[in-house]
């Protein structure tokens, strides 16, 4: 760093912050290091600036800060992010920053060294990717992913390198001092698809999750392949190998469904695989040091029912990478236009070809076929990013003569793919989807039944366990539950995984809240709160709302009842026109309100937004309904009342109740919704282990009569003393519980059943129930308990069955 004095004045911006950091600890006497900038006073040095001393960490910290602020800033404006991929914004930011630094100093003071890359940038990338990685999907598609990652990357690298070499040989590129090996090297660098960029783009595009996980997984693993094949330093092979091993390990093991299953396996495995001395492998060792650190954090994290604040931390490192790429770009020299034109189509074409070939091979073995549109997205969505840039910068000038050229070319490629492809992929996908779908407006019947088919199909898929029943996975989860959790998790954390206690607490809470709400409702507010649909009496007095479908024929007739209208023709005409509007409105209503089948709405959660998911509402509604139905069927069987009539009556009443209480649940639901947020998303991710995560109806929350009743009802052959509730049989089913997303188990099941038994919490007698809520190990006991307050004849379900 030369010219400190001049630089000191030139860096007004940065130095404004500098004193805050440095001055306080630095206030001292005359001691100063060589080359440090002085304050201008003579004699006693009160304040010194020691830029050199703090330079490295300071810059890094500052850079991180700026990048984070920028990221947060980007996401404040949702409109922007939905069009422009985030990576593009980051690159622009980097350019701007680089420009500032360059303008201020004319020297790029920050260079990307291997040390910086591996120590600072890579670990957070790895860990963050690991934490957020959807395990189930990943391992389910692991074969495919491996194929794409390894074979595909090698193929891409080869084709790119070779095609470039071909072009070079043909002389188009002018006079360069490069050989075949250099081209191949470059090809291997460029072939690395960047997971971060992919993630950012695919989030916006909402492709189906199989596609996503393939591209994402491929990008994760091919970094390792790239490093191995690229081999920037001599020890690169070891580097790459340990990276290849450590990365998937580090990503998969610390990453569990909810971060509640930390595993020491990675830290055990990693050191053992590393060759002894070489300094190049220290980074992986550091990687192994980090997972245990993160593990101790995760149980805490798992404790909070709320989804953690969307951390921009993940993309920080690549934000850094990208922005430093931008900064470096400003610095770069050679602007040769010869290499670029052939490069881009070369690499992209190679990729496309590779994708097509591999897909053809894979489709012969896969369950879920990859269609054309998937392939298009896969090949087009191969965005390069920070890793490629970092690797190319690591190239040694001595070994590769035209390093600068490569660097600049890489930068251009990265820019192009991220910006151009990132921007256009979304419209492209939409266009393709639209093109492939039906052009004809489907009839009402078709829409309805089509939707029904989708539901049926997804149900059958679930029943037939299409998603997969991995023996290995079961073994692992058993192992984890039996040993690892006990070792690694604190007792309180383990307890919180115990569904039963959770249920109990939630139950109390819910009852308390509903008690209050009910009290409100019974008061004078009741009338005001009930939605207008229930009060048909209001309709006649209000002006007819044009948007409603009330314009049905019946309504029309009703409306005209008072008017003396004998003109049948006008009536007929009016009816016809109304029918048309009705038609439109009906279609619209259906479109809007039909429940979406699982495949449609299951897209990957967003890492930046905590948007309350519409689909949770749908899930909740359906779940309530289902539970209530089951309850009804049980009740009818038990009470020996004519099921049909009762069910119909109950159902009608409940429906009315549901409407009336629509305001109430909003108070209650948010309680669970944070938890639901987390777990439903995770449930989506996991493609649910619902076959293992079963017993929302059964076992959970012992002593829930629901179970008792159902099991008694349907399995008449079982022992009359009640089924030995497996939940309490030690540990056997904890695996199930550990996998149960909490929203499935608890209150939802319990609450309706409780309410069903019990009169509305107005009567204080109800709370008696909660006290003797012993967790007994025999299901019948609870049943008997529940029967206690049920002495008063319940002809109908009480008022607010809807929780």
């Amino acid at each position: 760093m030369s010219g400190r004095g001049a630089a000191g004045s030139g860096r007004g911006l940065l130095l404004a912050l500098l004193p805050a950091l440095c001055a306080l600890p630095r206030v001292r006497g005359v001691e100063e290091g060589p080359g440090s900038a002085h304050g201008h006073s003579q004699g006693f040095q009160v304040v010194t600036f020691e830029w050199l001393h703090v330079q490295d960490p300071y810059i890094i910290a500052l850079w991180i800060l700026v990048a984070s602020l920028a990221k947060i800033g980007f996401h404040l404006s949702h409109k922007v992010t939905s069009v422009v991929p985030e990576s593009a914004l980051l690159i622009v930011l980097g350019l701007v920053l680089g420009g500032i630094v360059w303008a201020a100093d004319h020297i790029a003071s920050f260079t990307l060294t291997p040390t910086v890359f591996f120590f600072y940038l890579l670990p957070p990338i790895v860990l963050d990717a690991g934490y957020f990685m959807p395990n189930r999907l990943f391992f389910g598609n692991l074969g495919t992913i491996l194929l794409y990652a390894v074979v595909g990357t090698v193929w891409n690298a080869a084709t790119t390198g070779l095609s470039l070499y071909g072009v070079f040989l043909s002389g188009l590129m002018g006079d360069l001092n490069v050989g075949l090996l250099d081209f191949l090297l470059f090809g291997s660098l460029i072939a690395a698809v960047d997971p971060v960029a992919v993630l950012a783009v695919f989030e916006e595009v909402h492709v189906n999750e199989v596609l996503f996980i393939i591209v994402f997984g491929e990008s994760l693993l091919n970094d390792a392949v790239t490093v191995v094949s690229g081999c920037p330093e001599g020890s690169g092979a070891w580097h790459g190998a340990s990276l290849c091993i450590s990365r998937p390990l580090a990503t998969t093991f610390p990453a569990s469904q909810r971060g509640t299953r930390p595993s020491p396996a990675s830290s055990v495995l990693l050191p053992s695989r590393q060759p002894p001395v070489s300094p190049a492998v220290r980074p992986p060792r550091r990687l192994s040091a980090l997972p245990p650190g993160s593990q101790s954090r995760t149980p805490l994290w798992a404790q909070t029912p709320c989804r953690p604040f969307p951390s921009p931390r993940r993309e920080q490192p690549s934000a850094l990478g990208l922005s430093s790429g931008g900064a470096a770009r400003v610095r770069q020299g050679p602007w040769s236009w010869d290499t670029r034109p052939p490069l881009l189509p070369g690499s992209q074409g190679g990729r496309t070809l590779g994708v097509v070939l591999q897909t053809w091979v894979l489709n012969r073995y896969r369950m879920v076929q990859l269609e054309i549109i998937d392939q298009v997205v896969m090949s087009y969505g191969g965005l390069r990013g920070a890793v490629a840039f970092a690797l190319v910068v690591l190239l040694d000038e001595k070994k590769v003569k035209e390093r600068d050229l490569f660097v600049s070319t890489t930068i251009i490629v990265v820019f192009f793919t991220v910006i151009f492809q990132g921007l256009t992929i979304k419209p492209l996908v939409q266009w393709l989807k639209v093109k492939r779908s039906e052009h004809r407006e489907p009839k009402l019947n078709e829409k309805l039944h089509g939707r029904a088919f989708d539901h049926i199909l997804s149900a059958i898929e679930d029943i037939s366990g299409q998603i997969g029943h991995n023996y290995l996975r079961d073994k692992w989860s058993n192992f984890d539950r039996k040993f690892l959790s006990k070792i690694l998790m604190r007792r309180s954390a383990q307890k919180s995984r115990d569904r039963i206690l959770n249920v109990f607490h939630e139950l109390n809470l819910k009852d308390a809240i509903s008690y209050v709400a009910e009290g409100e409702r019974r008061g004078s507010l009741a009338f005001i709160r009930s939605p207008s649909t229930d009060n048909m009496v209001n309709v006649d007095f209000s002006t007819p709302r044009p948007s409603t479908v009330e314009a049905s024929v019946s309504y029309l007739l009703r409306e005209n009842v008072s008017a003396v209208c004998l003109d049948m023709q006008s009536l007929e005409q009016r009816r016809r026109s109304i029918r048309d509007t009705e038609d439109m409105v009906t279609h619209h209503t259906l479109q809007q309100y039909l429940y979406k089948p699982r495949q449609e709405y299951k897209h990957l959660y967003s890492r930046h937004e905590l948007t309350p998911n519409e689909d949770e509402k749908q899930d909740k509604e359906i779940f309530h309904r289902t539970m209530r139905k089951r309850l009804e069927s049980f009740k009818s069987a038990k009470l020996g009342v004519n099921p049909n009539k009762k069910a119909a009556k109950l159902y009608k009443r409940e429906r009315a109740q549901k409407r009336r209480n629509s305001s109430i649940p909003n108070g209650i639901l948010p309680l669970e919704s944070p938890m639901n947020n987390l777990t439903i998303k995770e449930k989506d991710l996991e493609l649910s282990d619902p076959e293992e995560a079963p017993d929302y109806g059964a076992e959970v929350g012992g002593g829930i009569e629901f179970l008792a009743s159902i099991t008694q009802d349907t399995t008449a052959t079982d022992s009359p003393s009640g089924i030995d509730n497996p939940v309490f049989s030690p540990d056997e089913d904890l695996s199930i519980l550990s996998r149960v997303p909490p929203w499935l188990s608890p209150g939802e099941t319990v609450v309706p059943s409780q309410r069903a038994r019990v009169q509305i919490p107005c009567s204080p007698g109800n709370f008696r129930r909660l006290a003797p809520f012993r967790l007994s190990s025999k299901s019948v006991d609870s049943f008997l308990q529940a029967d206690g307050p049920e002495e008063q004849p319940h002809a109908t379900l009480p008022e607010s069955t809807h929780m």
Partner: protein, 175 residues
């Protein structure tokens, strides 16, 4: 009824669902599949496994229902002996399966009331009763040709003739 591998897979699945190793599945076993609880038609599908009020379903019965969802082989229909009964995964039988889901009282027609119930299942709570009823009316009207206010099986098939049932109701692994 399917290739060996898929049968084996189904058998494993049957065993896994059968929690207490009873050798048959009861309603509870199927109800435990969490995803079915959030499927609007989940209950009905479970019911379809227990025809005629049975309380249990054994493995052949299990497979029989699932066989409806096998993908249709093109070469099957060409070489099939017309005297044999249609395979379970033919288009007609797939449709018949769905029809039975709608037609709860098994009278061979989907009455307006039944359609209303199905609609109610599949639609969110924001939809009012009036809206639902009018939608039901429209739906039945569209499909109903002989004007009896109900949708018979033939009418049902006819209204869906343009839809690619074979593809929409097939699960690949059952091949």
């Amino acid at each position: 009824l399917g290739s060996r591998a898929s049968l084996l897979r189904l058998y494993h699945r049957f065993r896994a669902l059968d929690r207490n190793k009873k050798g048959y599945l009861s309603r509870v076993d199927l109800q435990q599949i969490g995803a079915l609880a959030v499927n609007p038609l989940g209950e009905r599908i479970i019911d379809s496994f227990f025809p005629d009020g049975n309380l249990r379903v054994d493995f052949p019965g299990f497979v029989r229902v699932l066989a409806h969802f096998r993908p249709v082989d093109d070469d099957d229909s060409g070489m099939r002996d017309p005297k044999q009964p249609e395979p379970l995964n033919s288009r007609m039988n797939k449709l018949r399966f769905v029809f039975q889901l709608y037609d709860l009282d098994r009278d061979g027609k989907i009455s307006r009331h039944e359609m209303l119930q199905v609609l109610r299942l599949m639609v969110g709570v924001q939809v009012t009763e009036e809206q639902l009823e009018s939608i039901t009316d429209r739906t039945v009207q569209e499909a109903d040709e002989d004007g009896d206010g109900a949708v018979s099986f033939l009418e049902f098939t006819k209204s869906l003739e343009k839809m690619d049932i074979e593809q929409k109701m097939s699960i690949r692994i059952l091949k």
